[in-house]
Each structure stands twice: as C-alpha cells, then as structure tokens.
C-alpha cells in the first residue's frame, strides 16, 4: 500500500467517525410554542417541591394552559401564557426570564407593607445611627434597647467583625430588635452567622430535603440543620424581637424560622412571605430561562411554613401611629422586651 492510500484511508475514517457526532447526539429540540410549553410544564412537574403544601393540581393546570398554546402565537403571547401558568404556583421563587420581560409572583402583595422607613429613620435611627456592613443600627427607648435594621441578606456576606462590633455595642441593653421587614432574602449563609450569636449551645433549627427524582414524593432523606458553633461574642440572657411582614422572604423567612428554636427570641409583625425552598434554574428550547423551588423545609414543630411563618404576636402597622411618627410594631416589641417578654 502506498503512503498516499494510507493517508486517504485514515482521513476518510476520521471524517466518517467525526460525522457520526451528529448521529451520537440528539438534535436540538424544535423551537415551537408547544415544545417550549411542554418542556416548562414537565420540568416543573418533575422537580417542583411544593405541590402538596400549596394544594396545586398541576395536571389540571396543564389542561387549562395547554389549550391556550397555538402554533402561530408570537413570543409575547407565549410568554404571557407560560408566566400565568407559573404564577399559579404562587411562589416568589418562580420566574420566567425572556429578553423582553421577567415574570414574577409578587409575594409582598399578599399583605400590607408593614413598615415605614421614613418614620424609622427620623424617629428611631435618628441622625447618629451606625452603618456596619448591611446593618443600620442605634440605641432606642432611652438606650435600653438596641434596634438593628437589616434590609437584605443579599447585600453582602456578613463578617464576624461586623457581628462582634454590633453585639459589643449593645451588650448592656435590655433587649435587641432585629427588623427584617421587607427583607427579600439573599445568602442563606448569613442566616447561620447571625443566628449563631444568640445561643451558647448548638440548636436544632429545622430539617430539609431536596427533590431527588421525577416522582411527586421523590425527595432525599431529611437532613437536620443545627446552629453553628462559634466562640465569638454572643448576645445571651436577654430577649430578642424579630420584626416581620409579608415582604420578609426566602433567607429572611429562614431566619424567622430558625428563631422558633430559641425561647428568648419572638417574632412581631405580620406573617412572612415564605420562600423556604431553594430555586433551581433551567432553560427552554427557545433560550428563555426560568427557576422554581426544588427543596422543602420543616420547622422544629414539624410544620412546613412555605406559605409564611406566622409571628408570635401579630401587629399590623397603624396609619394613625405612623401619622404621629410612631411605629407601633417597634413600640410593641420594646414594651415586650422591657417587660421581660
């Protein structure tokens, strides 16, 4: 055999094998309204973790929205149908993301916005407040109470230095208020850092599991979650009030949930928005992306509070008090803390 024939043979063999790549791999799914709809419905059907808690019949949702899918519908129409379908889940962790719009379910609209930030700034934080990382804080009630406004778990990772500083500053107070109203969540790791400063012992906070298969009840085994052990300075022997409302969501709800494990911490305000499931991301055949919850969490009392964590004391913001420059939720918490809860 001459060299050139060997070359031809080898190159032909390579071209043949490489061309088989298309044979080995599936082709991309057709980008049709029907295909996109089916992909989204199926992924939610297989992976969403709260059908039972929310009492949703996803099969009947399919029947309703499938009838609205037409071959010639434009992108806006398709987006609206699929967004409406996802909003049936009533879950703030569910979004459909296209280049022209992002769908979301506004969990805060379920209740009154239980906070007036201007009143807090003018009459509680005042002009000499401190900003430590994402925390804004000051003494209130004749310096007997420390008030800490924490508006987002997402702004940054809490540092141990920040917590040391804050706890040192308020170590001689009669109680502490942590205001997480309208805190939409963020890093769950911040929850553990913060909650770890309120007990000298490890505490069982909640148990959690993740979707592990396509069946409705295919979940991993529950894993118990405990507060972290830390040798850092702690706020012990005194009571702590957590202020919540419907805008308290996701990581903030986790924080509220964790306080159930603590006898000296109580919640004042409105039921939280929930959001106790981690959202997973995915993509449709047309490129749009989406996310929805695929974990679930049970509190120390065994209940699933995905629909919101009820407060120990329900207090709704009073318009008349606000008109007088008072936040009746903070006032209630101060009274409870000073009187010994």
């Amino acid at each position: 055999m001459k060299i050139k024939y060997l070359h031809i043979f080898i190159i032909s063999l390579t071209i043949f094998l490489c061309s088989c790549e298309a044979y080995l791999f599936e082709s991309d799914p057709e980008n049709s309204p029907k295909n996109n709809f089916e992909h989204l419905w199926n992924d939610v059907n297989h992976k969403y973790s709260f059908f039972d808690v929310k009492n949703i019949n996803w099969d009947s949702i399919y029947v309703i929205y499938n009838s609205k899918i037409r071959d010639r519908m434009n992108d806006t129409e398709l987006f609206n149908v699929m967004a409406d379908m996802l909003n049936e889940l009533k879950d703030g962790h569910v979004n459909l993301i296209s280049p022209f719009n992002i769908s979301s379910y506004d969990i805060t609209s379920l209740g009154k916005q239980n906070i007036n930030t201007r009143v807090i700034k003018e009459n509680y934080l005042k002009d000499d407040y401190y900003t430590t990382g994402s925390f804004v804080h000051n003494f209130i009630a004749n310096d007997r109470i420390g008030y800490i406004r924490y508006s987002s778990f997402d702004a940054s990772q809490i540092t141990e230095y920040e917590l040391d500083f804050i706890i040192n500053r308020y170590k001689y107070t009669d109680g502490l208020i942590i205001d997480i109203r309208q805190n939409g969540g963020g890093y769950v790791t911040n929850v553990f850092k913060l909650i770890g400063r309120f007990s000298s012992s490890e505490k069982f906070l909640y148990k959690t599991q993740i979707k592990s298969g396509s069946g409705k009840n295919d979940f991993s085994d529950f894993e118990d979650v405990y507060s972290p052990k830390t040798d850092k300075i702690k706020y012990l022997g005194k009571n702590v009030a957590i202020l919540t409302d419907r805008g308290t969501y996701s990581a903030s709800s986790y924080f509220a949930l964790c306080t159930y494990a603590y006898d000296n911490i109580f919640i004042v305000g409105d039921t939280t928005g929930g959001g106790l499931g981690l959202p997973n991301g995915g993509q449709l055949p047309n490129g749009w992306t989406y996310r929805f919850s695929i974990t679930r969490t049970l509190a120390t009392d065994g209940n699933n509070y995905e629909n919101g964590i009820p407060p120990d004391y329900t207090v709704i913001l009073s318009d008349s008090d606000i008109a007088e420059g008072k936040d009746n939720i903070i006032e209630f918490a101060v009274t409870k803390l000073i009187s010994g809860y």
Binding site: L17, E21, T189, K211, Q283, T295
Partner: protein, 288 residues
C-alpha cells in the same frame, strides 16, 4: 452507538487473533526512546447538559498539552495532561447565552506493538489507558444552578497505527527558474482510535444546585456517582516531522465525543475537535 461498539470490538478481536501469531521479528523497534512534548492548540468544543438545558452550546477553547512518552521492546507508554479554557456560546433568536468552561484531562496509556513479520506495512499497537477528565462550567443564566463540575474516570481501549516513512533527497526546480535541493525528510503518520470501556462519573445529582440550606462545609452538595459503559469514542491523528537532531514537530487533530451519564435524566453530550502543534524533544538524544 451500537455500530461503533461493534466496529471497535471487531478491530479488537481481529488484532487479538493476529497478536496470537506474533513472530520473532528482527525489525521490531528495540531502541529505548523518551520524548517530551509541549503542545498548544485550539479546540472547537460543544456541550449539552440536559440537567439545565436541552440546547447545544459550542465554543472555541485555546488549550495546551504536556506529553511524555517512552518506548522500547515493543512497549509504548504515553502520559498526557491537557487543559482547555474558553466559553461555550449559544445564540438564540434574541439573545446570546454564555457558559465559561475549564477542562483538565490526564491520561496514562500503554500500547503493545503487534508484529506481523518483516513485510508489515505499518506498526500496529493495542493498548489501554486510564484517564481522568474534569470540567467546570459556569452559566450565570441558570442562576443557582450556574455551577457544574463533572469528573470522569475512565478505562479506555486503544488501537493505534503508525507509519514511518522517508522522502529521499532530490533535486527540484520551480518553473525551470528556481532550482533547489530538497533534503531527506522523515515523517511519522499516526492514527489512534479509543473507546472508554468503563467510566465512573462524579457529577450533580437530580438537581444541580445542591441543598445550600444544609449548614455544612460541603462544596459539592448532592453530587452522585454514575457508572457508564462504552460512553464515547475518540480519534487522534497526527503527522510528525522528525528532525535530524532527534527532535520533532507534530501536527495533531484529536476528536472526542462523549455521552456522559447516558440513560440518566441529566445526560451530557460533549464533543471536542482539538487541533494542536507539538514540539517534541527527544530526551535520550539530548542526553547524549
């Protein structure tokens, strides 16, 4: 896929039969050789990860490769380390999605030369490899599921054909104007076909985000181990020009197609077309 398995199995069996008839061959290459290769190149990669998207992403990945091989008495050992880094791109009608990718691959191969007598046309080798392949992909469009780490340890079956030939020196002239003497040149033309017989795959479980609400230090939450048989195919063609000092330059084209975690819900389709230029140093001759 079955047709490729059958094809390779046929080649394997055929060569095993031939190997039984090994003759004592005075022409076998008993010279001990050691080579170090440093390669740079460009790769056209594609990936589709059904765990997050049904779409095929593709991208250009610059890469490098370190290679060490030594041979003697019909045995050939080859060790390769590859790294590629780049971005997978997927353009849809209205947007471009991008995922960064970082690939590390280590492969240790052994080949045994098959002898067919003095008149054999080319050297043939049968062998096996163990390899470890890791890839990190980050696609921020998938939010919490942005990060994926795949680690695959495989046992490979390899078949290699290698032909060494020399073009003799000769006088040439171009358009009867420019006359020059072409020096003698030696080349090696080589091709290799490989298939992973068994793969152990460590990658995300059913969902890709892991349960971050579990307060522990695990980085790769809810990752699982999968088994896979005959999960791909690869070819490696190279054309090497040997220099008189024993060193060489090699032009290679490597193709690989993999079906990772095949038959599981989160299957991954992956392919690579890696073109490299390698500078090969003959360590033995340099020592001399």
């Amino acid at each position: 896929m079955k047709i490729f398995t059958k094809l390779l199995f046929f080649i394997f069996i055929t060569n095993l039969c031939l190997a039984d008839n090994i003759e004592k061959d005075s022409t076998k290459n008993d010279d001990k050789q050691r080579f170090l290769g440093i390669a740079a190149g460009i790769s056209f990669n594609t990936v589709r990860d059904f765990g997050t998207s049904p779409l095929l992403y593709s991208g250009i990945f610059p890469g490098f490769q370190l290679e060490f091989s030594h041979s003697g008495k019909g045995n050939l050992f080859n060790y390769k380390f590859k790294n590629q880094k780049g971005n997978y791109i997927r353009a849809t009608d209205d947007r471009v999605y991008s995922a960064s990718g970082n690939i590390f691959e280590l492969r240790l191969s052994y080949f045994r030369q098959l002898y067919y007598g003095e008149k054999r046309f080319a050297n043939q080798y049968l062998g096996g490899s163990i390899g470890n392949y890791s890839e990190i992909r980050v696609n921020s469009a998938f939010m919490n599921a942005a990060f994926v780490f795949d680690n695959i340890s495989s046992l490979w079956f390899n078949y290699k054909v290698e032909k060494k030939y020399t073009k003799r020196a000769r006088q040439r002239n171009i358009f009867n104007i420019i006359k020059y003497k072409r020096k003698e040149r030696t080349y090696i033309f080589s091709t290799e076909v490989s298939m992973p017989i068994y793969s152990l795959i460590y990658r995300p479980g059913y969902n890709y985000i892991g349960n971050a609400t579990v307060n522990n230090d695990k980085i790769l939450q809810d990752y699982k181990i999968y088994n896979s048989f005959f999960s791909g195919l690869s070819t490696d063609i190279s054309f090497t020009r040997l220099w008189k000092n024993g060193n060489a330059i090699k032009y290679s084209y490597y193709w690989n197609a993999s079906l990772i975690a095949r038959r599981f819900e989160n299957e991954v389709n992956s392919s690579k077309h890696f073109f490299t230029i390698t500078l090969i140093y003959n360590l033995k001759s340099n020592e001399n």
